[in-house]
Symmetry: C2
Subunit: 262 residues, 2 copies
């Protein structure tokens, strides 16, 4: 399982200020720290960048890639910002993402074709709502895959995000167990070993004790991973959770186990 | 997932001395502590009790059941001790266990029929060796189930133990991933929702740093659990591991999640 840092996000005040001031230092410091913490890729969650999407996304991608060779996930709902990010990209970029929402199908999918990148597809209804159960999530996956193929993309380009639910939602625990079965079922359903990603921070969003939140993450992460999750999107500064991911990777390793690895 | 304490075991010097002296106090203290730590059942691992099997097992079962109403797993390879334990039992007892070893088939299985108890079946070859891979483990499961049914037992009486491998074994990590697929496959293979148990302490037996051992347990436990494990046999004094099991149970709960539960 690969780890994708979710730390570079506009909801972090330091990042927001850096973007507004086009000051690369705080962003680069964050990128370096994520890589040092073991990130395999970095999500750049810029928000809509409604004021200056092209200028700001170009700045963000260039800032990160000046200090890191890791793949980036360009995470914005703004198609102009997405296109600018893909044009600025000098290494590996992934579009994050699309869904059955008509605007996403029309504007994001063609960018994956045009730039030859991978793209994250969310299991959400066309109105952006979360499907109520596992079987509806699978119906959405089939429709999503259909749209994806119609856009001329190859299987290897798809990464599905089943959308982790906050445990605090009324049916949060049920939804998150549905996600486990969705992860197990997807390869058979779509007929290939589809890549998947899940945002672990979603699980504990809202109120709650920090230590308990980390504990919940460290239990749900191996559950997702053993059920087939390819990439976990998480806060790389949650040291215990990152350590759990390392232990998981050592446990599934086909080499001889060594205590030094964990 | 239920937790079965593996603490009452003859390899613990205090327990060994208490059995030899027929002194119930240390055993009862252990039983009370396991129950307070959240055990749902207690394994009584007496070893072969070669000197006085009947007297010593009767003593053990009576000592535990004088202070605890929890189900007990009577864990001995000695059929005389097993029979004595089952006769002394006043609550719920489970035979731990049998395998394809001829002596076990001849002497343990009939006891499950005679006393109407559940029985743990180990996925081991007739010579007691561990099968080399997942598909061989499944072959053994079919043979084991066949022998079990021929003994006139009902499906609900069977509990399968896939035999967790020490990670330090040359192919330990591979075997433990095989066990994950065995757990997922067993219900389809046998055609009913078969109960399962796994000894978590096996995973980290041998040399190794204690903190790392606990970490490994806390990652492998949710992996086993989400793959269908019904009962984990573990040291109830490994507080972090027990807490992980509680968090897992809260995460799969179909009630509304509450931070107070974990």
């Amino acid at each position: 399982m690969l780890l994708v840092a979710d730390n570079i996000r506009i909801t972090n005040k330091r990042i927001e200020r850096a973007v507004n001031e086009l000051n690369p230092a705080p962003i680069q410091e964050m990128a370096r720290r994520c890589e040092a913490a073991g990130a395999d890729a970095m999500d750049i969650n810029s928000g809509p960048l409604s004021r200056e999407p092209v200028k700001q996304m170009t700045f963000l991608v260039e800032a990160v890639q000046a200090v890191s060779d890791l793949p980036i996930l360009i995470d914005t709902a703004n198609p102009r910002a997405m296109k600018a990010g893909l044009e600025a990209n000098k290494k590996v970029a992934i579009i994050n993402g699309f869904s059955l929402e008509p605007a996403k199908l029309e504007q994001m999918l063609p960018l994956a074709k045009r730039f030859g990148t991978r793209i994250v597809g969310y299991l959400l209804y066309p109105n952006g709502h979360v499907p109520p159960d596992g079987s509806e999530r699978l119906n959405v996956a089939v429709a999503l895959y259909d749209a994806f193929r119609k856009a001329g993309l190859e299987n290897e380009q798809l990464i599905i995000d089943p959308v982790v639910a906050p445990v605090m939602w009324q049916n949060g625990t049920i939804q998150n167990m549905d996600i486990i079965s969705v992860l197990r079922t997807l390869p058979d359903l779509l007929g290939f070993d589809v890549s998947t990603i899940a945002g672990l921070s979603n699980l504990t969003s809202g109120q709650g004790d920090k230590e308990k939140k980390r504990l919940l993450e460290s239990v749900y992460l191996p559950m997702l991973a053993v059920s087939g999750l390819s990439m976990a999107l998480l806060n790389m500064f949650h040291e215990k959770t990152v350590r759990i991911a390392g232990v998981y990777n050592a446990l599934i390793n086909k080499k001889i186990f060594s205590w030094e690895e964990i």
